[in-house]
Structures are given as structure tokens and as C-alpha cells.
Subunit: 428 residues, 2 copies
């Protein structure tokens, strides 16, 4: 489907953490397999890749404030964040990982939103998804309270790299996440580039997210957000830029020239009035684009089915072209494209040697039938609950909707109680 | 929530087909109840009302052609429709009813799209939802092949009224559904108005759906679609107009003055580039607006959760106002508002004397937690699969996701096979 080709009656074998073979059943030997999963009548596809999100902190903010202006939202958020504790963050992180595993997301790109990462690293041991964890830094505006912490963390980044980078059988990577052009100064962007080059880790930031940012950067630096960070030598193929709803033609040319990638979050951008990515233009310029959910505080759902469907609808509407963004392209942007956008090219595709990040989707549901074509059914009819099995790094995280070794009831209970207590002590 | 008020620890009792009492548990006696449903920790709310759809025919077209221009789509659709048979339409209708019941939709407004209604009436005996069935008529353009049939059906409409109207304990109503200003001439709109007045049945049509329709009506009649049908004496408070994406200020004034109602289908309108309803303006003018899914051929999902969420996102984006369309208003538009928009005021609300159309939603799910407020969780986090129990007209259609007396596997099988055979004999 899409760029990928569909195999009818196929088989796929996994050896260790990788895909050993995939092809027509007759050509893929399965003798001696330790475990067989019968996926007849179902779709076997790459696990979804969510190339921009904030799990740990954002899970605690989902649905807390809807329909309000950004400033009110940010103030409330900071009141809560002041009171975050490690245990609550652990259960929040674990709940987010469970939500993603149940929705068929096997890889995600975390922007830590400038907060403590240890609880999420612990949660990733319990629910082992593939992740790149970007350490968040900022030193301007509303984010000024974390200036000292940010510089210290940047200067001691080698500790984090040596402790967590490429751990968990190489599932967990770490990276650098300067927050944005309105919350980080020039010196911070420059140092992030130096540290990234020194440690060979990726960068994940917010760029050109909305009109307010454009106005701030124009006033302060006399240019666009993209051109400003470019002038600092910050951009490159190791940078994932979330949002990019405010790009002019020069910005797009710079992204293409530097190989900078885009994490496109259509639901969040619409809901928060941030603008709309010029998707056709950036793709035509050759910029890599992946779909992403953003954090549950801004869009509420860690659900790539919703992002694919909403992206299809909103871009057809805004380009006034029903032929734009075909179902296969949307699937690609949610898997291979998103993997490329976060520089994890070893996932998002079913091929020998790729990481065994595989999901099975059951389309034999009232809301999906008839299935004239799998791509259309996956993009416009299927829901996250239709994912029956999720495999990451060769490990079964979910089988027939059950999570082996995970006590979901306990996690829900702990998370719910922790979140309500946090709100109580922060806001009431 | 929304206009409605939330009751913590409430009880609701049903007597026959109606709600007997609803309020704080202590004030609602439940002694002697024949059946008790424990909904602790869950949300009890009115069943969703889908005030514009096409089940019977459209179920067979879902996902068949995506990403193509309207004309190609219509031609293929007509090739299939030519070969529709009663049995396939029965299983298609039943599958659609099952999909809606499982998604918490208890009432729907069917526009028959000019096709045979008997299979759907049969299906409504097996899966007894509340419905208004609009008999479709047309005599212009692509729809010319059904001109003779349409006039005959209009002239003999009294038979249909006497046979099906207010049957099934008043669950099933019939109505009149002229297709649209580009597919029905003036004489047909005038006769529909006469027949509706004579039989006191409602009218359900497509109006101002897209730029093509506006261009056609302007060229042919020198006015707007809304003003043209108004000049024919067609509009009134018994008319549900689907879409209305192309309204000028005078059109809106006319709708308010005549009490004409709007079925708003945000997903379908975006996906097909039909334009966007001026929701704020029509609401400010006092026009009643309900949400609807349209048929699965044009938007794919009979799912009011998706319509609420998409409506919230797209209208915040297009009005550039994050405070517009609050979660409570979206819930209202999917229940009470949609019931009003299809002139079925006896449903869509939990109050004594209202029809017992009630659903129970389980928000204790990873993707919904934490629940700081039920309205936000229902609109932006919950999915159709979170509906656990569906009651319509006092009858339990679904309990803990199981459909008593329904063999869903058989229905899926028959529907799937019928659809694939139909496509084979029509298109291959």
C-alpha cells in the first residue's frame, strides 16, 4: 500500500529483534518457529511511528483545560508542573506507553518539555517501546524559571548520553530538545548544535509553530524562525522540527537544503489555531515529513489513525483538491515517513533486516466493512481499537488486545489517582 | 454537560419506552426494577442522534473510491447502484445499524438516496433503532434515470405513509427527501411541499452543498440554492437541510425566518472539498444545527465521536478562535441539537417523559484518562468503542459491547460477501 507494496497471503518471520523474512507465504519458511501467530484475514503492517510527542508531562494535562487561550493554558500548566513528582510522572509515562502500544504505535519521539526524564526511562523498561528521548532546554520568556537547570543539563549532557543512549537493546536513544525560537536564545541553539555534533545525537525542536512565534522572532531578530536558526548554524539532517505551520518559500528552500525534517501534527495545529503546514510545497521541495500526535495536552489522543484521517480531510479541504494526499501516502507518513523524520530508519517498514516493529490490524469490523482496499480502510475507517497485536523489537507487547505481564487496571488506577491528587494540590 | 447539567452519582429509571425519572440516586427510587444496570464510574448520556445519513446504499460504497473527483465517483456509484439487489441491501442496512448501535447512535435521519427502502425497513425490525426514513426523489442531470420512478413514488406517497409511518412503537417515521436543487426541478420541490403538508411528514434534503451547486443554480435560476427553494415555498421548520456550506447572509436570514434546520457534516464536507458551514453565523441567527455523519460513501464512519472532535478542531481553526465551540456545545449538537434538527424532539435528552434512548460510556481507558471533565473526555478523547451499552426505546441493543439476539459474525459475513459480489458483477 502506498509506496509499499501489498502482499496477499504473506508471511513474516522474526529472528531476535529483527525481521528475518517477509513475502508470499510459500516463499517464507516458518518451520521450527518458536511461536506462530495466525493473522489470516487481517493486515500485518509496520508499527506506527509517532515522531513528535510529550508523554510524561502531557499525560497529566490531557483535557484539563479545553477551549481556552494559550496564555491561560500555559499558566495552569506551569502551576501543575511545579508540583510534579517522580511517582506521578512514572505512572503517567507508563499510561502513555500503554495507550500507544494499544494503538499500534511502536516508536515515538519524545520532547521532554524540559522535565525530568528518569520516570519515563523507568516506564520504558516496563513497556518497552522504541523511543528517542529529547532532553528539553529553554531560557526565555515563560520558560525562564528553568534557565539554570537547562544550562547545567546541557553542559553535563555527556553523562546522560553515556547512561541512557542506545540502551535497551538500542531501543532507547537520547537526543537534544531546545524548546523553540521564542523560548531559547541564540547561545543555547549554538551550544545544542555543538553538543549534538560532539555526541552524534539527534535534535528535536518546535519550529515555526504559530503566528505568535513568527511575530516574536521578527521583532527580536528581524527574520523568520527558520532563517534565524539557520543563521546560527543549527539546522541539519539530524534535526526534527515539529509543526512548521508558518513557512515562507525561503524557509522551505532552507529546510530542503539542510535536510531538516518535519513532524507534522495536523490535529493539534487545527485545535490550537496554529496554522496549517504547506504540505504539498514541502513535499515537492523534497522535505521529509512524518505524522505525529503531539502531546495529549494539546491534542488529547496518542492515535495515529486519527492523525492520518484528519490530515487527509484537512489537506483536501485546504488545497481544494480531493486527489491530494492519497491513502497510501498517509500510511507512509505515519510509518516510514515518520521514522525518517525522526532519524530512526531501522523501523517503519516491513523488510528483512528492519527492526521487528510489527502490528496486526483486524478490519473485519462493522465500521470497516466492506474492505475494497486495505489502505482506504486503514486510513478512513479503522480505529486504534482495531489493532489486535503489537510487536516491538521482536517482543510481543500486545496480543489479541491483552498486554502480557502488564496490570493495566493497576496502572489506570495509579495514574488516575495521581493525576487527581496533583490537580488538587496545584489548583484547588 | 453543555446546556445539560451533569448529575454526580445519578440514577435513571426507564418505564416502557420512556425515561421515568432521572436525578441524584437518592431521589430516584429503583425498588422493584426488573433489571438493574450498574454504571458506576461511567457516563450515562443520551444516545447520539445522526441527523443526516444514507445507510442502505452507502454501506456498499464505503472506501470503494478514495481520492478521486466527484464525477468519477458518481459514475462508479451508479454502475453499482444499477445492480443493487434486495438481499445485499438488507445485509448492508443491517450492518450499518449494527455499526451505529455499537457507536452509541440511537436515532438517525435516512435520506434514501432515491433507492429501495424495504430492505432497510426489514433491517430495522432486527436492529430497532429510531429512524426517520426520507424517500428520495430526483429528476434532473445524473439522476434523470429515476425521473419516472420518482414522480410515481411521490404521487403514491400516501401508501408509504399508511404502511410505514409511525410504526415500530412510533420509532420509525417516514418523510420526503427531494435530492437537491441541482437534481430536482421546481415542480418536484413544489409537489414535495404539498405532499408534506397533506401528510404532515418531515422533509430532508441536501442544500447549498458545494460550489458546483451554487454555480448551477445561479446559471439556471439566477439566485442561490436557498433563495430558489424559498421562492418555491419549500422551506419551513419541517425541513432538514444537509450541509449548507455555501450560505450568504440573506440565505442565513431566510433559514432563521422559516425555521429551516441544518444537518452539519464537517468530516464529509472537508474530505470532499465542499466548503465549510458558517457555524457561528447560523447559530447566532438562531438556526438549529445538529451534527451528522453523512453516508459511509462520502465520509466512511458512522461515528459521532469523530464528528464532534473534527467539528471542534476545524471550526477553531477556521474561525481562528480557540474559544469557539466548547466541548459542551459539541455534545449538544450531537444529541439534543441533532434531534431538533431532524424534528424528533422526543429523543436526545435525559429527562422524564423523553424516549428511553440512553447510552453508557466507559471513560476508564488509557486514551481517556485522566478525566478532569467528562465533556472534554467525551469530545476529544473517547472513541466509539468506548460505548459499552446502548438502549433505544427502552430496549437494550448492546450491553457490555455484546448485541443480544444478533449474530454479528453472520451479518459481517453476509455483508462482506454481498458487497464483493456486487462490485465484481458491476465493475470487473
Amino acid at each position: 500500500m502506498g509506496g509499499a507494496k501489498k502482499i496477499e497471503n504473506g508471511s513474516l518471520t522474526i529472528s531476535g529483534d529483527s525481521i528475518a523474512a517477509v513475502g508470499p507465504a510459500a516463499s517464507v519458511p516458518t518451520d521450527g518457529a518458536r511461536k506462530l501467530i495466525d493473522a489470516r484475514g487481517r493486515v500485518v503492517m509496520p508499527g506506527f511511528v509517532n515522531c513528535h510527542t510529550h508523554i510524561a508531562s502531557n499525560m497529566l494535562l490531557r483535557g484539563l483545560l479545553e477551549d481556552v487561550q494559550l496564555f491561560e493554558w500555559l499558566q495552569t500548566m506551569w502551576q501543575l508542573k511545579r508540583n510534579f513528582d517522580e511517582e506521578t510522572l512514572y505512572w503517567a509515562s507508563l499510561m502513555g506507553l500503554v495507550e500507544m502500544a494499544k494503538a499500534g504505535i511502536t516508536t515515538f519521539n519524545e520532547h521532554f518539555d524540559a522535565y525530568r526524564v528518569e520516570p519515563q526511562i523507568a516506564a520504558l523498561k516496563t513497556m518497552p517501546l522504541r523511543a528517542t528521548l529529547g532532553y528539553g532546554f529553554a531560557d526565555r520568556g515563560l520558560y525562564a524559571p528553568i534557565t539554570d537547570w537547562s544550562w547545567k543539563a546541557l553542559h553535563s549532557f555527556d553523562d546522560k548520553v553515556s547512561r541512557h543512549h542506545r540502551t535497551g537493546n538500542d531501543r532507547v536513544h537520547v537526543g537534544l530538545s531546545p524548546h523553540s525560537p521564542y523560548s531559547c536564545g541564540a547561545e543555547m541553539f549554538k551550544l545544542v548544535r555543538e553538543v549534538a555534533d560532539a555526541h552524534k545525537v539527534v535534535i528535536h525542536t518546535h519550529l515555526a509553530e504559530g503566528p505568535q512565534e513568527v511575530a516574536y522572532v521578527s521583532e527580536t531578530y528581524g527574520t523568520t524562525p527558520m532563517q534565524w536558526v539557520y543563521s546560527l548554524g543549527f539546522l541539519g539532517s539530524d534535526v526534527t522540527a515539529a509543526h512548521c505551520t508558518q513557512l515562507n518559500d525561503d524557509d522551505i528552500r532552507i529546510m530542503a537544503e539542510t535536510g531538516t525534517k518535519i513532524a507534522h501534527c495536523p490535529c493539534c495545529n487545527a485545535k490550537l489555531n496554529s496554522g496549517t503546514l504547506r504540505l504539498r510545497s514541502v513535499r515537492e521541495a523534497g522535505v521529509t515529513v512524518g505524522l505525529a500526535t503531539d502531546g495529549p495536552a494539546s491534542h488529547n489522543s496518542l492515535d495515529m489513525f486519527q492523525e492520518m484521517k484528519f490530515a487527509g480531510m484537512i489537506h483536501k479541504d485546504k488545497t481544494n483538491d480531493v486527489e491530494f494526499l492519497k491513502t497510501g501516502e498517509l500510511l507512509e507518513m505515519a510509518t516510514t515517513g515518520a521514522a525518517a523524520a525522526m532519524n530512526r530508519p531501522d523501523t517503519g517498514k516491513l523488510a528483512p533486516g528492519m527492526k521487528a516493529d510489527v502490528i496486526i490490524v483486524d478490519l473485519d469490523k462493522p465500521h470497516c466493512l466492506p474492505v475494497y482496499g486495505e489502505a482506504a480502510a486503514l486510513v478512513y475507517s479503522a480505529r486504534a481499537d482495531d489493532v489486535v497485536t503489537t510487536i516491538c523489537d521482536g517482543q510481543i507487547l500486545m496480543e489479541e488486545r491483552a498486554l502480557p505481564g502488564i496490570d493495566e487496571t493497576e496502572i489506570r488506577h495509579r495514574f488516575r489517582e495521581g493525576a487527581l491528587a496533583l490537580r488538587h494540590r496545584s489548583l484547588d
